[in-house]
Amino acid sequence: MIKLIQVNKTYTSKNENFQAIKEISLDISDGEIVGIVGYSGAGKSTLIRMINGLILPTSGEIWIDGTLLSSLKQQDINRMRFSMGMIFQHFNLLSSMTVYDNVKLALSIAKYPKDQINSRISEVLSLVGLLDKSLRYPKELSGGERQRVGIARAIANNPKYLLCDEATSALDQNTASEIINLLRDIQMKTKITIIFITHQIEVAKDLCSRVIVMHQGMIVEDQSTRILFTKPQSAITKSLVKSLIYDAPLHSKNVYELIYDHRNTEDTSLSDMVKKYLVDVNIMHAKTLMIGDEHIGYLYVQITGNQHQEALNYLESKGIEVSLYV
């Protein structure tokens, strides 16, 4: 269990002070997959580095499994890190070591029993599908393979937490979703708690059951992924979600965004509405997203007619999220 209480972080330099994290309080339970999403500069990287003590907060408390991080000596922080794997945007493997030795380094730092190191390396390398490349050097591998090594290295010591810092941002879309699937797979097998930082909301959508949206060092939204996509509250979340659904601007008037969730995708509400209130409907754009194992439908329609307000109320009564598209 990770608990942050009113955490602040201010970077001080000669010319100015920059507050990267403002009053963040946060609970992450064991076994969760939490995405932390925001545009660059939102404070995500700082936040994740405060969890494993790479960056110290200016004020506030960080509790890891009931231990206050700031009460630990450096040696104890190092020991705590044995139970926290971390993967990075640029993989950060040691270029002078083979795949095998990279994983071995993590195990020997974590004081893994010497007689079991060899078998554990084989185990994690086959889990990430790289057993046949264990004697290669990182530069001989593709980006996706390097990240797999990063993952193998991070989970080698059976950590309780896995911190992912933009782990898929340097990869192409296909490779990124392979990595996401691998992480989901590992999570299912090991019940590891995953904290996943990303600026790509689609990645968070595919992996996480809970998403925290950050903006200018603050948490603006903290929701289950489904609620976040069906009932986004803040402007930042809306713009992040919108970028995924439809990024072309709609200039027409009376355009409404209708969000269907799993309960009403099979309904005929829209045609019922047309018949009942005699409104004109013009479909501008439609998209379906897969969130977890649910389909969420996004429909952009122009609705005109004398009874259009009543028509909209009718849709809302059917459980569809309706909002004027601006």
């Binding site: 794997g85 493997l93 002078s96 070591m97 380094l105 730092i109 530069k139």
Partner: protein, 221 residues
């Protein structure tokens, strides 16, 4: 041309040269690594959290190092004559060049070491920290990642050392360069001069090729 005397002179000079290059090389390696690492470790905004006192130590060491590095070798050689007399006891022969060579080449190599260490990606070091590596382990990792650059840097330094030794020949330090200088200057044995020069070139090539080969072999960046 190459009588027994000349051959004897040549062999003696060759041994002296090799002694100077590798004898100095060992000291330079030691002092260079030490100073270079200290410069790296005490760097402001470096990989370790540093107090004000270490930052001052860094500035001080960097300044002394740069001063020693920027004095032209031949001037340093003359400056050091009294020190050499005390340390080595003589101003003639191969040994006499040692202090000046070491004092001149160590700061050079120290800077090379400093740069090689600084080239190790901060992100890689962060990854090691995230694994829970101790400072000692971090240092090991930094050196391992920098090894190829260190070998290239040492190669560069050794080649520079050969050049320095030619300057040392002027004050009578021994070696092949001295032989070439003495016998070439008065024109009494040109073949011996050419042989000495070719041998020096040959030594430089051997050092360069060996260094490059090793560096390439361990470089996986």
């Amino acid at each position: 041309m190459f009588d027994a005397h000349a051959i004897e002179l040549y062999l003696k000079a060759l041994v002296e040269t090799l002694f100077l290059v590798f004898g100095t090389g060992i000291y330079v390696l030691f002092f260079g690594l030490l100073i270079g690492f200290f410069l790296y470790a005490t760097e402001p905004d470096g990989i370790f959290k540093n107090k004000l006192s270490t930052k001052i130590a860094h500035r001080l060491l960097a300044t002394v190092n740069d001063i020693a590095r920027s004095i032209p070798f031949i001037i340093l050689l003359i400056l050091l004559i009294p020190v050499t007399r005390i340390l080595v006891g003589t101003m003639l022969g191969a040994k006499a060049a040692l202090p000046a060579l070491i004092i001149s080449a160590s700061p050079f190599f120290a800077r090379v070491v400093h740069m090689a260490l600084r080239d190790v990606s901060k992100e890689t070091i962060e990854a090691a920290r995230a694994m829970g590596a101790s400072n000692l382990k971090i240092i090991q990792i930094v050196f391992k990642e920098a090894l190829s650059s260190l070998v290239s840097g040492l190669t560069l330094t050794l080649v520079t050392l050969v050049g320095f030794m030619s300057a040392a020949a002027v004050i009578g330090a021994g070696g092949l360069a001295y032989l070439a200088y003495e016998y070439g200057k008065f024109g009494n044995n040109y073949p011996l001069m050419y042989l000495s020069i070719i041998t020096i070139l040959f030594i430089v090539f051997i050092i360069q090729i060996t260094g490059d080969t090793i560096a390439r072999k361990i470089d996986h960046r």
